[in-house]
């Protein structure tokens, strides 16, 4: 029993009300928030959160009132045996019952969504400080990407998570809880998006200097649109001629980066084949304009301390912009 799946209309409405109230109080982040879910797991967890938080609030208030009352009671208002009864009932039996109920209530929510071999697998590998993404649809060729994850709405997706250098953690708050990416291990996270939109995920395990700058875009798409995108993306090939492409080549960018359709297949840095589609630059930190891209190329550490990419400070601005335009798919 996934306990919230068959929720009644009233319950859902109440929950939405509570979530909206929280969002109104605290700002309007619907982008990277466990309080604004767009996935089945996060949805369930939000319901659980509301139950837990309300329960906690009631109990906290109760204890404070009891302390207040106890401190104002006249002497001997409570007898020795009465006091022991209070300790027994309020201190031992009440929490035991509440916690047992809570455990029974929460255990089913620990069960992962059912998955099968027919589900789309997305392998994500955390690196300092970006994300290597590989789509492995059942029965079709894989697709390499980076720093962006697209998921089809309504379908089960299995994330296979690992890391090469240090421990990272993969968290898309609106979609599901987080899962660590640990060198030498592969962890699985099963999710199902429930509504389309553009969201954001972040690294939540401290992973070094630019841990704070390790995010990614998440795009939940209608299934048909997703299928079309995947097919198209797999066919994408970029020209290897033109000023930008030549500069890319000459500067040795291909030693680390791959671009489909060109001789560059290196896997050290992010795959740049689909850079022109990306919503952000540098793993979720900058708008991918030509100017920003060129500036990033010339000095990545200025934007992302500790980034592995070397600086190209001596590269003329015009050349950097040419590469940027090439990556952006501009003429």
């Amino acid at each position: 029993m996934r306990w919230q799946r068959e929720a009644t209309g009233t319950r859902v409405r109440l929950r939405r009300l509570a979530a909206t109230a929280i969002l109104l109080i605290t700002g309007c982040n619907r982008h990277q928030s466990a309080l604004a879910p767009f996935g089945a797991e996060a949805d369930d967890t939000l319901s659980l959160t509301i139950v837990l938080a309300s329960g906690a609030a009631v109990i906290a208030l109760g204890v404070v009132l009891l302390v207040w009352n106890a401190s104002r009671a006249r002497e001997h208002a409570l007898s020795e045996s009465g006091g022991l009864r209070l300790v027994l009932w309020a201190g031992a039996i009440f929490p035991t019952v509440v916690l047992t109920v809570l455990l029974l209530f929460a255990l089913p929510a620990m069960r992962p969504l059912p998955e099968s071999d027919a589900d789309l697998r997305i392998q994500v590998e955390g690196e300092q400080f970006w994300w290597r993404v590989r789509y492995a649809p059942p029965g079709a060729a894989p697709l390499m990407a980076a720093n962006e994850v697209r998921v089809p709405v309504g379908r089960t997706v299995v994330f296979e998570l690992t890391a090469t250098d240090v421990i990272h953690s993969f968290w898309i708050p609106g979609l599901a809880g987080k899962m660590d990416m640990i060198p030498g291990r592969t962890n699985q996270l099963v999710v199902r998006a429930t509504k389309p939109g553009t969201f954001r995920g972040v690294c939540t395990e401290f992973c070094g200097l630019s841990h704070a700058l390790m995010a990614f875009d998440v795009i939940a798409m209608e299934p048909a649109a997703f299928d079309a995108w995947l097919a198209e993306a797999r066919r994408t090939e970029r020209a290897s001629s033109g000023r930008g492409a030549q500069a890319f080549d000459r500067r040795g960018c291909g030693a680390c980066h791959a671009i489909a359709g060109t001789p560059h297949h290196a896997v050290i840095g992010p795959d740049l084949t689909h850079y022109s589609e990306r919503l952000t630059l540098g793993a979720g930190i900058l708008e991918p304009t030509v100017a920003n891209t060129a500036a990033f190329i010339r000095d990545p550490s200025a934007f992302k301390p500790g980034a592995r990419m070397p600086a190209y400070a001596a590269m003329p601005q015009a050349e950097a912009e040419a590469i940027a335009r090439y990556l952006k798919g501009a003429p």
């Binding site: 982008h31 009465g82 929460a106 620990m110 250098d165 030498g184 939540t204 395990e205 401290f206 704070a212």
Partner: protein
């Protein structure tokens, strides 16, 4: 001497003169630092821990300044990482744990009506280690080399020398040094509670603070060693490239996480229970009645301690462990709320049944309880695994842990500060300033940390040096930053109150009208601890025993004199506190300080890879320890026994299981065995993780032969020691000495044979986790065999020097305890490395 004698004021004055002279502190600019009396050492310890707390607090304020607005660049990312790492590490290792030990060193003898703790020089050693290690770790930030891997130091980020620098070594070695001093203090406190209670104070009459100290010190004993084992593996990887945590060579980063959290979770209760202990002292005082439900709260404290060792995996809910283990640890984590609730309701019931006086300490207690309850309830929330998957490593956890730490450690300490200040200094702190400070702290804490619950759920991860404006969490963060400075204002006001204290007038004695022993203390400073050691018949003797204070003051109880000019206290039995001996205590000395500095040298020089100097420092440490022991322990008294009053005659020498020294050895070895089991856990952890462990191509080493030789000869060394003890006791001194020589030889051979296994089979520890862990176990056991050689040699030398005789044989009995544990270690190590590969 009879009661009649004590009626004579002249006699009493003469006794007081003698006591005062014996317990007088050394004077002089340098000499005063050689003091070992618990009131001096405890005060330095407390003040130092308080200083580290303020320093770590300032680091927190810097972080809040950086995070006040989005995309801020006030603090460099690298510096920010050092700030949060040091803030967390210092608050835990340099404030919360040492503060508990410091306060206990001050209070425990008073609470137990003892003149001092059983090993005053050990307290001093612990303090100097703490000071040196603490300055070393915290000072690193001024050189921009502070640890920057988070207080949990997860490898591989922290073990890969290309990704982390000196800071990781400073953390690991500096804090290992402090862990050693924490364990030393724990040994001292446990023996103090068990052996130095006043006559008549059976376990069930013990003040609750002493109960909590006992529980917490035992927790330290079992919680710190796994971390020390982890530190050993960690530094082996960093300094020697032995791949314990490197997945590419058969290691696993999760091993560190297990070892760290087996320490790290009990740690939370280690710093929380002492605060409950302070409540347990002041709530009865300000309810003007006995604590209601004494057995309940004792059982709850013990229960919390037990459960706290079964929860560590809740820090690892997102590491992809099997769901069934998550369910188990979820349940255990929730269960710990039950004994916690029992403790809270014991206080509520006591207040309800009594007449509550709203003093300043009581205000702090109530306020911290309110904060703690919120932290405890969010703790139950994160114990629910699915919720934790969202909340883990976000600001929700930052909020949760600060509610727990502020409500469960910091504010209760302030309550204790206002409560016990008159006991320590004879003067009360200002009620007015105290109350204003309380409200600043209370409001500040809530304004800082409540919004973090929301910023966390709205997607703000922990340990980020900035966050983008688009997240819409800037309002919450600004509130948190403002709150932090309100909180800091409260802390500053308390500091001002403390600074003004010397100008204030002395308070009356026992100003809160409390019922427990410690309030016998005089406002005028007397270093002797207690005038005469009372016979205790109640949990609240000042309230319940007639004329109690006067009788104590007039020396009408035990040991009212110091005829031989020695510092002394009474030793009693563990359960029912029957007096069994008078022991002579260590006097002021340079040795503890110098030993601490020599040992510190080992850790600090290793940090800078100065191995030869570190080795020299190690030899100096050993020499200091031997000198200290030789000149200061197991001294043969000038007479068999002495009278302690009321016609009782007490021996002046104890040996075997009734002696404090035997208990200290036994307890230390429990900690040692726990650290060892952490290493053994590592071996079997690798086995569970790999399909093939040992890997088939490496499994032929270290073979069966050498490990079995080491095992057999090691057991022989143990039997020889036991035989030596028996022969010595029966007066066959020559045979005993011969057996000791044989024991030395056997220990030496066992240690060498242990190394010969991996050595002769050419095991290369950098190749794979298997040879690395085999080498580690073999080295650990061989080093212990080498220590056995030194110890047996020491006992032999004592015998030859006439300092150990058949009657006075404490040295040999203590060495035998060591050998029992060494035998266990030997069997486990060599059975594991020699026989397990045959089975696996």
């Amino acid at each position: 001497m009879s009661l009649h004698e004590q009626d004579d004021p002249e006699l009493r004055r003469a006794q007081e003169e003698r006591l005062r002279a014996v317990w007088d502190s050394p004077k002089g600019l340098f000499l005063k630092w050689t003091d070992t009396n618990n009131d001096a050492v405890g005060a330095w310890y407390t003040l130092t821990a308080f200083g580290f707390m303020l320093f770590a607090g300032v680091l927190g304020l810097l972080m809040r300044a950086q995070l006040a607005v989005p995309d801020n660049d006030l603090v460099e990312p690298g510096t920010f990482n050092q700030l949060f790492t040091l803030h967390g590490s210092m608050m835990m290792f340099l404030f919360a744990v040492p503060m508990f030990e410091a306060v206990s060193i001050v209070l425990l003898p008073q609470l137990l009506g003892a003149r001092d703790l059983p090993f005053p020089r050990l307290s001093a050693f612990g303090y100097w280690s703490f000071l040196l290690g603490g300055v070393f770790v915290s000072g690193s930030i001024f050189f921009d080399v502070a640890p920057d891997g988070g207080w949990f130091m997860y490898p591989p980020l922290t073990t890969r020398t290309d990704l982390s620098g000196l800071g990781a070594d400073i953390w690991m070695l500096g804090l290992s040094f402090i862990e050693v001093s924490s364990v030393a203090a724990a040994v001292e406190l446990i023996v103090g509670v068990l052996k130095c209670r006043p006559p008549g104070m059976r376990l069930n009459l013990m003040p609750l603070y002493a109960w909590y100290i006992l529980v917490v010190a035992v927790m330290i004993l079992f919680a710190f060693p796994p971390l020390i084992a982890g530190d050993v593996l960690f530094e082996m990887e960093r300094l020697l490239d032995w791949p314990f945590f490197d997945a590419a060579r058969g290691g696993d980063p999760l091993l560190w996480q297990h070892l760290f959290w087996i320490f790290g979770h009990p740690e939370v209760y280690i710093v929380f229970l002492p605060s409950i202990a302070l409540f347990a002292m002041l709530v009865p005082t300000f309810s003007q009645r006995h604590l209601l439900g004494y057995p309940w709260i004792v059982l709850a404290a013990v229960g919390t301690a037990f459960l706290s060792f079964g929860l560590w995996v809740h820090h690892m809910f997102t590491t992809g462990l099997p769901k069934i283990s998550l369910a188990f640890f979820s349940a255990a984590s929730e269960a710990v709320a039950i004994p916690t609730a029992v403790q809270i309701f014991v206080f509520i019931a006591t207040m309800w049944a009594g007449r509550v006086i709203w003093s300043t300490p009581m205000l702090y207690a109530a306020g911290s309880l309110a904060i703690f309850v919120i932290g405890g309830l969010t703790g139950v929330m994160v114990a629910v695994a699915p919720f934790d998957w969202q909340a883990h490593d976000t600001y929700f956890i930052v909020a949760h842990l600060h509610y727990v730490m502020i409500g469960g450690t910091l504010m209760p300490l302030f309550a204790g500060l206002y409560y016990y200040w008159p006991l320590i200094t004879g003067k009360k702190l200002s009620d007015r300033l105290g109350r204003i400070a309380f409200w600043l702290l209370f409001v500040g804490a809530n304004v800082t940390f409540f919004p973090m619950h929301l910023s966390g759920l709205e997607g703000m991860p922990r340990r980020v040096f900035t966050y983008p404006a688009e997240l819409g969490i800037d309002g919450l963060n600004l509130a948190s930053s403002i709150g932090a400075y309100i909180f800091a204002a409260g802390a500053a006001l308390i500091c001002i109150d403390l600074a003004l204290s010397p100008r204030r007038a002395l308070a009356e004695r026992n100003p809160w009208n409390a019922g427990t022993l410690e309030w016998l203390a005089h406002p005028q400073d007397e270093h002797w601890g207690i005038r005469s050691i009372p016979l205790v018949e109640s949990r609240y003797p000042i309230w319940d025993q007639q004329d109690f204070m006067r009788k104590v003051d007039e020396g009408r109880y035990f040991l009212p004199d110091a005829e031989e000019g020695r510092r002394e206290t009474i030793v009693t039995t563990v359960l029912d506190a029957r007096p069994i001996a008078v022991i002579r205590l260590g006097t002021p000395s340079w040795k503890p300080m110098m030993t601490a500095f020599a040992l510190g040298g080992v850790f600090i020089l290793t940090t800078y890879h100065l191995y030869w100097l570190a080795l020299l420092s190690g030899i100096a440490t050993l020499a200091m320890v031997l000198w200290w022991l030789w000149t200061g322990t197991a001294e043969i008294p000038e007479k068999e026994s002495k009278p302690i009053g009321h016609g009782m005659e007490m021996p002046l020498y104890l040996s075997g299981s009734s002696a404090p020294g035997w208990w200290a050895m036994f307890i230390t070895m429990m900690a040692d065995a726990t650290a060892f089991s952490g290493l053994v856990f590592g071996y079997y952890f690798f086995w569970t993780k790999h399909e093939d462990f040992p890997p088939p191509e490496l499994a032929s080493a270290p073979g069966v032969f050498w490990p079995m030789v080491a095992l057999a000869v090691g057991l022989a060394a143990w039997l020889l020691t036991v035989a030596a003890r028996e022969c010595n006791a029966k007066g066959r001194i020559g045979t005993a000495r011969g057996l000791l020589v044989a024991g030395i030889a056997a220990s030496m051979i066992s240690g060498l044979a242990g190394i010969a296994g991996p050595w002769t089979t050419g095991m290369e520890p950098t190749l794979h986790s298997y040879p690395a862990i085999v080498w580690t176990l073999a080295i650990w056991t061989s080093v212990h065999a080498a220590i056995a050689v030194i110890m047996l040699g020491y006992a032999l030398a004592r015998s030859l020097a006439g300092k150990m005789t058949p009657r006075y044989d404490a040295d040999l009995r203590n060495v035998t305890v060591y050998m029992h544990f060494l035998a266990l270690t030997t069997v486990v190590t060599y059975a594991t490395i020699g026989l397990f590969p045959e089975l696996a």
